[in-house]
Amino acid sequence: MSEASGTRQSALIQVEQLTRVFFVGGEEVRALRGISFGVTRGEWVAIIGQSGSGKSTLMNVLGCLDTPTSGRYLLNGKDVSRMDDDDLAVIRNVEIGFIFQTFQLLPRETALANVELPLVYRGVPARERRERAKAALDKVQLTHRMHHRPNELSGGQRQRVAIARALVSEPSMLLADEPTGNLDSATGEEIVRLFEQLHKAGHTLVLVTHEPKLAARCPRAIRLSDGEVVADGPGREVALGTGAGVAAVTGGA
């Protein structure tokens, strides 16, 4: 299976035997214990698991905020598992659009300036930056609020600004960490619909969540438990535990 997916042109993410070991107070904590899977371009995948399952660690590794202890991580054809800090910063800037549970907008900057930020670090000239940031805000229907600061926006609006910020640099994938966790259900629904639109438009989405209902709406879900992949299949079946067709994946294939 890995052979087949490895040769596929459109494989965007390919992780093989990923492990991540922390040392906490002299004790070894194995947060990831040999994880392998692939994500093709244009897929919408949920990574689901209880707290402590290793999903946050996996998200940090997938987001190039952290490096694995062993194993390989190919992102868009590049082996990012052994890159140094500076190169990872560039990868984060170019390949990944982050969407956080707590939005993580800079409080003193306007919505527009927040959206421009990834382009600043890419060295895009100011005028082009502004145009592209406006276009991104337009995709989330927030151009009318672009000169407001985060504290003048509602939670849903803040998350839309964050999504615009993730979209503006046209990354290979959007990486969302509990994107509806700080929103009421109506606003959460609004954000999920936005994800559906983005998925239809061809964006690759990786969504990390502990909510089965949210994962169930994704075409595919991967369930983690104790640092291992315990299920990988259609979102509904993996998230809600229905159906017998879920591939149980343990260790390597």
Partner: protein, 412 residues
């Protein structure tokens, strides 16, 4: 993204964020600035005043003449036993003539002998005037200029004529509004006829050169006794070769005075340089202490900056995490905080410069101290403050850059 372009982005963005954050925390910025400002102000005021002292001292010394040597039995500056020098034999006029004859490099030469007396004209009187007995060439050696009448001549000396040339201040005090020429002044009751006056010359190290009355050398001896030691002022032809002439002069004077070969010199050759060196030794120590105090103040200011920057890093931990997640490299973060620290310091430096210069100026107005502030001092004040900011910003900036992005994003 090329490295150069990356660096440009880092600097531009770093500078923008720095300004932004300075504006956002005005009160804190002002207080931090104050610390550095006081340090720079102290340093500049002290340096300005000392430079002023130096300049005025050197200007005064210049009036003594760079090509002039002063030979006498006393050195101008000495440590140890005064009576050792006092016991040296006095120079005589005969020795003066023989030195002159043997030293072709001397362009002008005159012995000078002095006492301090009151000078009177009728009821008017000037106190503490230096009555100086000199020869004709004294005019050339001393740098005085004749303002009216004539200078003393060799014939005045030979016949011990009771004539006098008045210093500018003596003339203006005793003869306000009228010409002193042909008039009589009394020194300790003895009458002298005024034949000339000198142009104003100013002060050298608190010594008023215009409070002087010049009389012929032998007249001085005849009037006030021969016991006083003379100082011989010698102008040489070429100021650039003073050192060489000085060495030759030592040999000539030893021969003339018959100093035995196994004995040290029984006279001293003095130069304005000697005074300058002594002065510099004195002020260098003062300078060192003063600059040390200023530096300590700056150090305290720098620690203030470091403290504030550490607070700033802590406050903005999440911001740092976000920036790192969005693609900021470590050095971008480092630059951001370094520029923030440096700009706070530079603003402080500028403020301190203004205050320091003002202080120096005020001190020079209300005290006799002269302040002299040079452009390079101002520049170095600001630059120095910025460097202090950079140095004390390094640690906080490094801490910011070394934050783990994952931890930073999670920071509450």
């Amino acid at each position: 993204m090329s490295f150069r372009q990356g660096f440009r982005v880092d600097v531009l963005e770093g500078g923008r964020i720095a300004l932004f954050s300075l504006r956002a925390n005005r009160m804190r910025t002002v207080l931090t600035t104050l610390g550095i400002g006081i340090g720079v102000a102290t340093l500049l005021a002290i340096v300005g005043i000392i430079q002023g002292l130096n300049t005025s001292f050197h200007n005064q010394l210049a009036t003594l003449g760079a090509n002039t040597l002063y030979v006498s039995k006393f050195p101008w500056v000495f440590r140890g036993d005064w009576w050792l020098f006092r016991n040296r034999k006095n120079f005589t006029l005969d020795q003066v003539a023989r030195i002159r004859a043997q030293a072709p490099f001397i362009s002008a030469m005159s012995p000078a002998v002095q006492r301090v007396s009151d000078v009177a004209r009728g009821d008017a009187q000037v106190s503490s005037v230096r009555i100086t007995g000199v020869l004709e060439e004294y005019l050339a050696v001393s740098g005085y200029e004749v303002a009216s009448g004539r200078f003393l001549t060799t014939s005045d000396d030979e016949v011990t004529r009771p004539v006098a040339v008045l210093g500018a201040e003596v003339a203006s005090s005793l003869f306000p509004g009228i010409s002193p020429l042909g008039q009589t002044v009394r020194v300790d009751g003895r009458p002298f006829q005024v034949v000339g006056t000198l142009a104003k010359k100013g002060k050298v190290v608190e010594e008023n050169l215009d409070l002087v009355v010049l009389v012929p050398f032998r007249t001085f001896y005849a009037s006030f006794g021969k016991g006083r030691p003379m100082q011989i002022a010698i102008a040489v032809e070429d100021a650039g070769r003073v050192k060489q002439y000085e060495d030759q002069l030592v040999g000539i004077v030893r021969r003339v005075r018959g100093t035995p070969a196994d004995q040290p010199d029984d006279f001293s050759i003095n130069k304005p340089d000697t005074l300058a060196q002594t002065y510099e030794q004195l002020t260098r120590a003062l300078y060192g202490v003063a600059v040390g105090v200023g530096l300590i103040t700056l150090l305290v200011g720098g620690i203030g900056i470091m403290n504030i920057m550490l607070v700033s890093v802590r406050e903005r931990t999440r911001e740092i995490g976000v920036r790192r997640a969005l693609g900021a490299r470590r050095r971008t973060i480092v630059l951001q905080f370094l520029m923030e620290a440096a700009s706070v310091s530079a603003v402080g430096g500028l403020l301190g410069t203004v205050v320091g210069l003002g202080t120096a100026k005020v001190i020079s107005l209300i005290t006799p101290l002269a302040a002299d502030v040079r452009p390079e001092t101002v520049f170095s004040g600001v630059a120095f403050a910025a460097v202090v900011g950079l140095l004390f910003g390094i640690w906080p900036a490094a801490r910011a850059a070394n934050l783990d992005p994952v931890e930073a994003l999670r920071y509450e």
